[in-house]
Symmetry: C3
Subunit: 135 residues, 3 copies
């Protein structure tokens, strides 16, 4: 089963999509299987991270922004603005696809895990994620 | 098929879980298929790395510790100790899920590849990995 | 279905394998499903990146070479040459496995996405990728 999710992002940072994905799994009716996500962009990515304290996500964002700053003299790919090349690098360092087991018709995530769309462009947009579910 | 693995880790570093996963694949009886692993934590991760010379894993650990040191003034998420936020960052930079083809009822790994649980907390614990196997 | 791809690489950098993978998907005859790739090496990796402007790939390569330089005093795993340990680190920071949904017998990639084999050794070689396709 293939399902398309469109996720609007307000700007840089980790946006929780656990509920949206859990809903697709629930409606699939599949009891035990695998849910695979692929984000159809190279300037945003996916990650599974702590869902409890928002400070962990804020620190992740700050740390990655410091590792991959804008306006680095190394960049030649700058046509779309200073946040363009950093976005591609951040996407390469995190994940474009994730595969999460399904058990009892639910995502088999750990207690403190959430699924996040990591927007790397300053200005967010409508991001497309393809969801594949199978036994 | 879903299987739960509990892996005790003695502390930071890469712990070989290839044998444990290969055993689950063997017992599944599936000849050709896909084996997906997801670690249910955000302060430990998964990686496929060289299984020959242990110095490669030691260097990986040293390099990542230098890139993501403890006691960075940037961190605000520090309640669980100095190794808490570095662990989340290291998990984001490596993998939470891996999907490995199965051929002839065996993991289709390369000759020099092993599957590792990468513990990022100083003090290890019992880590949970969900294994999904299908044709 | 399992298929083995052998990809010759001329040296360091991102090598487009989208056509090779798309061909395997097409010949599988599967309309809707999942295509999983695993590279059987730990000194090369996989990534989904922008397929339009080659400058993005060149900048990715330059940036990663600066983050993970050769001849770092930290390395002890140096028997195979100065590009050996950097290759393992780069592989750990990017992806060894990718899972891409299939829709209408085609890889459900975004418009600007391509699949790349990222060669990290100076001298390329024949790299093996295992492809698993299922509904």
């Amino acid at each position: 089963m293939i399902h398309q999710l469109s996720i609007p992002t307000p700007g840089q940072g980790l946006h929780d999509i656990t509920g949206r994905v859990a809903d697709v799994v629930h409606r699939s009716g599949i009891d035990e299987g695998l849910c695979t996500l692929m984000i159809q962009h190279t300037s945003a990515s996916l990650t599974i991270q702590e869902n409890a304290d928002p400070s962990a996500r804020r620190d992740l964002e700050s740390w990655l922004n410091r590792l991959v700053p804008e306006n680095d003299a190394l960049y030649t790919h700058t046509d779309e603005g200073p946040d363009d090349m950093p976005s591609h690098i951040k996407a390469a360092l995190t994940a474009t696809t994730l595969s999460i087991p399904i058990s009892d018709n639910r995502l088999a995530l750990g207690t403190w895990q959430g699924i996040y769309l990591w927007e790397h462009r300053r200005r967010g947009s409508a991001r497309q994620i393809v969801v594949h579910i199978a036994r």
